[in-house]
Symmetry: C2
Subunit: 186 residues, 2 copies
């Protein structure tokens, strides 16, 4: 088995491109294939969700694989919606994601990306977490990428959606997690 070739389980072309770019950097580039698999996600903490998904993915892929999960954790809600953010985004949109906080004293939030790597079926997944602190704000910038338009990373004055890709990629929760994964794999 070639350690430096692995499958990224995703149906998201943007994420695939980003992962390929990052993991091809450094002294030991890693070859990434992708597979779109329907894997049900469990309820639980971000780590529980990511671990379970990667474990199932490795069984289906039959070899080394990585999975990715994104969470948006409101401080006022003690970390929720967290891994359920995609359901909330679909249900209430950018305005609703703001309105949910109107009754609370803080709009602080943390964007959390969790990559999980399994060496293959039966191999316990290893977790790589990236976190970026910020604030939930009324939508600014293009509204095409999930909740990017309502998340303003601390001290930037811009939402994720307003930032040029290279600026976002330097501070983003996804980049931080992916950088840890690359260090581990290389």
């Amino acid at each position: 088995m070639d350690f430096f070739s692995l499958v990224f389980v995703t149906g998201n072309a943007n994420k695939l491109r980003e992962v390929k770019e990052i993991l091809s950097q450094g002294g030991y580039p890693i070859e990434i294939d992708s597979q779109r698999l329907e894997i049900p996600e469990i309820q639980g903490t971000t780590i529980e969700v990511a671990t379970d998904k990667c474990r199932r993915a490795a069984e289906l892929v039959g070899g080394p694989c990585i999975t990715e999960d994104t969470a948006l954790c409101y401080v006022a809600l003690k970390g929720l919606p967290g891994p359920y953010i995609k359901h909330f985004m679909v249900a209430v949109g950018h305005e609703g994601l703001n309105a949910m906080l109107d009754g609370f004293p803080t709009r602080a939030a943390e964007a959390v990306c969790t990559f999980a790597y399994s060496a293959g079926p039966g191999a316990e997944p290893v977790i790589f977490e990236g976190r970026t602190e910020g604030t939930i704000v009324p939508a600014r910038g293009p509204k095409v990428f999930g909740w990017d338009a309502v998340f303003e990373p601390l001290g930037t004055g811009m939402t994720y959606a307003e930032m040029p890709a290279d600026q976002k990629n330097k501070i983003s929760h996804r980049y931080k997690a992916l950088d840890k994964l690359r260090t581990y794999l290389q």
Copy 2:
């Protein structure tokens, strides 16, 4: 296999007692055993969550079984927190469950109970749903049973927590679902 003996997968003594009481009524009483099993719940609609859980339970039990899921669906949040309500209850408590609605024009909600029955491993679960409409209000009555103190069923003027058990059991989402299950099984 004796159709009239089945396993209720729960670790909750109160729910077990309620289920035993209801299913022992009518012309064909059903014998209920219980098993406490750790079954991860998936993310999804109330029906997807219930179906997946019952399917796994039947594999573990190795025979006929029923499972139960409870959801609290805010109209303002298009049905969320829904099946994730227990995580929100733990995270933000009764006050937080109210505060989440401060930014929205309606505090209407629906309590949803989903029983699922599987005849055994491989048998597709059958779903029995009970729904009770109401409003999210500041906590009144004993705070011991989950979110009962903040849910006021329509037209009653009382929260679930303030109601005598026999009154609650006549209108509750759980009773409605269980009554359908009983009709099906008997």
